[in-house]
Assembly symmetry: D2
């Protein structure tokens, strides 16, 4: 398969360009019988919509979804579900130069070479963060499927922005408040600090990165298809498809690499007939299979590549080094808007695996 | 596809069990015309062979490969290449108990549930680190293919064991010496410290984890198939298929998340007609596509789950908590033997992508 | 993968329903650099458009294509190409009953069971012949790709309608005239007979089937990926995806089964440095691989299932047998409109294989 | 995927060469808990074993299977099942010439071009009918799975050899006697005629083709994944992977193309709460989905390409036409030995679809 689809049984194919006619996605493999409306999708899209606060890009896009196939009487039918957002507010004026003067940290240079100069470079085309809206559309369907059939819920939030990191997170609070502040942080005090930090970077013509943490509750034991389709394998593949992601870890992750086995191993016990582990350093995955504990994943985003501060780069035509200041409308930090995207990608993978393992049946009960 | 194969055009299917008749792999999609002998494979297998030093398991396996299909006159034919290692020194006596008393940190519990009690639990069966020998067999073919056709070379080494971490690495030295010491460290002084650290952990009935870093040279610009088959996506999927891996990062990785964009962006320049970047925080990947700089990947391994030190766990039959001391022959730290495995998985993914992008032709020149 | 996509490297995903909002398709894997406009697609769509003659359904659909992604400056970019036809003239009044009274020869009963009653049954939903317009959209792109890069051309035509069969076909004539008569027949005299035969069947409240033959010129030697992705395997898979197809044969086909080997074998000779065979009983495929001779494929269509003549069937609710006369607007014979569909499916498979084998490069020359 | 594997959830990868070390297959996706022994496989292999009668090749191969992975306590575990037959009686002396003097009707020429001269041409290498033994190994597992879980049974038999065709077949008799005569015919009188016909062709240095018909009983309603993975699509793909197959039809097939719709449509009725059709012109498939009636498939095999009678062909080195008489040990008619191969391919596809649709669960009941 080429690269624009993901999944085995719950498959998503993304299409569209940042400054083209539209962006969209088709899902194949959603079981028939799931109650679904456009508002189920819109609710999730609104969480990553641009222009919602002072710390995001000022591009205005309502990002209104249209479901144009696969539903009948507000239920899925088993047929492919195509969803589209028509682009409205694209401004391609500032992109003519990227063909000859590639922006540092961007795909301009690599896509130019790979696609022989034919790719749509306007607004980074297929490589734009805007395409993550197609992940969210598909993710919203998978989230609803996981929730309605299995009671699975994924809660992601901003754990770190620049060097500000919150370690002590209360999941119940996170669930309630993360989408009530601009930075999608599970703690309003930290949210304020993070927000200020982003504004300060932007004032300096600079940008920040950070870390999103996702916790998934209600996962049954045994999702994952080792060896090569282990839960970590497929989750990481999906998460590294999000632009700007450069690191993924599960449970104790890199920190666990420095621990003794006796500390990192999670010991089993039984609580009201459910087998649990006392710690969760495994992040809910043992041997590539879910163990019934919460999935815990951290996703590292690099600082946004588009910055106003002048950088050196090459003029590919002349071979000269030039100074470049990236204008256009950009997020000084993509992390806050990436939070629903992480939730979506985690959900897409879990829905796929829940179908593969038979936890979600071929036809939902009416 | 079920989970035991990986790749799109250069496909590997792993089979076999730790304590069964054999372990093996079949490669489909290797282009015809590659010179290949069993010694090309054996050379790589010998790097991860057990029983080579005091810090690894004492299981004795010659791990001698037989190529039983796909070669003709010492050249690949385009037909599937099946390679087998017959198991010799398995000792299954200590595994009867894992069905009822799952070992912490292992797949015993999750695989029991997933496979309904039918899985071969002896020596962890399919979940054993021993299966990584099948990765190395396939990886050796992909390494030779990448080297002979494109001059690509992957150099992995142990960067960290427990809390001992080496930051200043000289790649030329690493290439020469990493397989000359027990820990596969690119620095003999650190190697000694790491080795002592492992022995100390074992003396305490405990285990260590660590980090393998891989650097790949000679990658052409444009490998990767965004969105969902980006180079990071497919590399991480492959690397998380290695047992005990819990974290993967590229370039500046998690560290880069705390940097300013102006510091993390790599600026372009030209050196003798090759377009380069002054730093390599991207780890050689921009927009999911290789940019011609060295790939830099770090892979985090959790401490080995099998430890002699007593741990609490459950007796699934009785529901009682019990104390368990894991006997059997195990590595106190899997990191050193994982180094060639990481090289293999990186090579498998790159060979696949080099075929997908046409950099490796359908038929090699005779 | 679920069932709504086909191909390995040139992948098509079909979506939409006969009486829904739209029908469409997304192509992933079309190389960048192909000149393409909506009129290239429309030209092919017009060949299967309904309502063009007295022998087809009276449903009026302009079937006007919109390309909504994947093009830039009238060239493909390497990104997914999404194409849509908005439905205009659907009339769903007559379909309420199919849920309880399945029409003989239709998918009503089987889809009801498979999709648990959730499928969109209006106008047969996903099972409608209307969906073949999505094959033609994708097929038009593959046809242009094959033509522009390799000079490949597929010429299909109606060989048989009911019991009227034309055996002596001149390919040059077929190329010129097949789309100038209502039945898509390569001989105007036979075309008239076939047309009368269809009208006669319709007057009797009945329907006819027939055979489409496709000949492909310019195929290079060596397309096909045996064993399981042989050219016959993948062509037949694609062709049996067309509704109403119940038989496929290559070259001498079933007739060849009764021949002696010495008669059926095609002997090699050389003509102006091209290796040819004197006969073409193989239909251009030896060992699952193209041999450079014209591909010759015959595709058998059953008589259209929708007939006005009363048939017996079941009322699923009551369990009683009832008499049913199928109203609605239907083709009394699907064969004429299937001709461009067969051309499309053949082209889709050949484009896929030409990319897999490297005959079509990853990036087209600018 | 390259071409040596088939299936989506029940996947088979074939490897090995006719005159190499071995032939074999790996199954991935067989659910855990199926009782399976080597004798279950051997029983099926024995049905296609060479050298059993005067009408087949005199190559002597015991074709003894070894299962080398995936079983534990005579039950499948969910892990890949690798099965091997070691080649014993290969005689490669007569094959040196095929590189320069391609045999008419064989893959010599096409494989030479495709694989750049690197393919193993001895005994036709990967293109040998011998490889169908790998289909039978995998098919035997799928047959047992279908039988044990769903009670599905496939009965194939020789319907036609040369111009001798048996039309009136009693399935109960076919089930009993087909493997008791040399031609695998469901009628002993016809069997004798067919056998004589084959011997006569061989005496003339010639060969015959024929038709295998397969009937599958016990298929539940709703197998198949339209559009592109319809039951006909996937069955035909699998059947056209058998060497020498040039035609496939379902139900009334090509004959139905000449019928009126009112005759070809099968009318529904109810018999003891099971919904049936009075005729079975659909061959048990409506809309690409099984309808609960017996599957009826006919598979056309061309006459064997290897004949002693001199044929003209090319010397590729000199460009001259030469006369060729194909020696070596060959079947004068492949049809009888193809009967269990057809049963195997049908079973592989049905097992795959039964898993995809959930009719076979992820874990079998213990």
């Amino acid at each position: 398969m080429p690269g624009n689809l993901i999944g085995e049984r719950f498959v998503t194919m993304s299409f569209g360009e940042s400054h083209g006619t539209c962006i969209g996605t088709v899902i194949d493999g959603c079981p028939p019988g799931l109650a679904l409306t456009e508002s189920d999708i819109q609710k999730e899209l609104d969480k990553r919509k641009p222009g919602q606060s002072v710390i995001t890009t000022q591009r205005k896009e309502a990002d209104k979804v249209s479901i144009i196939s696969g539903l009948f009487n507000n239920l899925t039918t088993g047929a492919p579900i195509c969803m589209i957002i028509w682009n409205k507010d694209s401004d391609s004026r500032s992109y003519e130069s990227v063909k000859t003067i590639p922006r540092p940290g961007h795909s301009d240079f690599t896509s130019l070479v790979k696609y022989g100069g034919f790719s749509d470079y306007r607004g980074s085309g297929r490589f734009s963060g805007r395409l993550t809206a197609t992940f969210v559309m598909a993710g919203a369907v998978s989230q609803k499927l996981l929730h309605d059939v299995l009671g699975i819920e994924t809660i992601a939030y901003t754990k770190q922005i620049g060097d500000i990191c919150i370690d002590d997170i209360q999941l119940d609070v996170a669930r309630e408040i993360r989408y009530t502040n601009d930075t999608r942080c599970p703690n309003n005090e930290f949210a304020k600090k993070m927000s200020e930090s982003i504004l300060e970077a932007r004032r300096g013509g600079d940008s920040l990165g950070g870390v999103v943490e996702a916790v998934t509750l209600g996962v049954p034991v045994g999702l994952g298809e080792p060896i090569f389709s282990s839960l970590e394998s497929d989750l990481s593949k999906a998460l590294f498809s999000i632009p700007a992601v450069k690191a993924v870890e599960f449970g104790s992750g890199f920190r666990g690499c420095a621990m003794l086995g006796s500390k990192n191993n999670d010991t089993f016990y039984k609580d009201q007939n459910k087998i649990m582990t006392r710690t969760n350093n495994s992040g809910g995955i043992l041997g590539g299979l879910s163990n019934g504990m919460p999935l815990v994943i951290r996703v590292g985003f690099k600082p946004a590549a588009s910055i106003l501060k002048p950088q050196r780069t090459l003029n590919l035509d002349t071979g000269d080094e030039v100074e470049l200041s990236v204008s256009g409308r950009h997020d000084p930090c993509v992390v806050p808007r990436a939070v629903p995207v992480v939730e979506s990608m985690v959900s897409l993978v879990l829905a796929d695996h829940a179908i593969r393992s038979g936890h979600i049946p071929a036809v939902l009960k009416s």
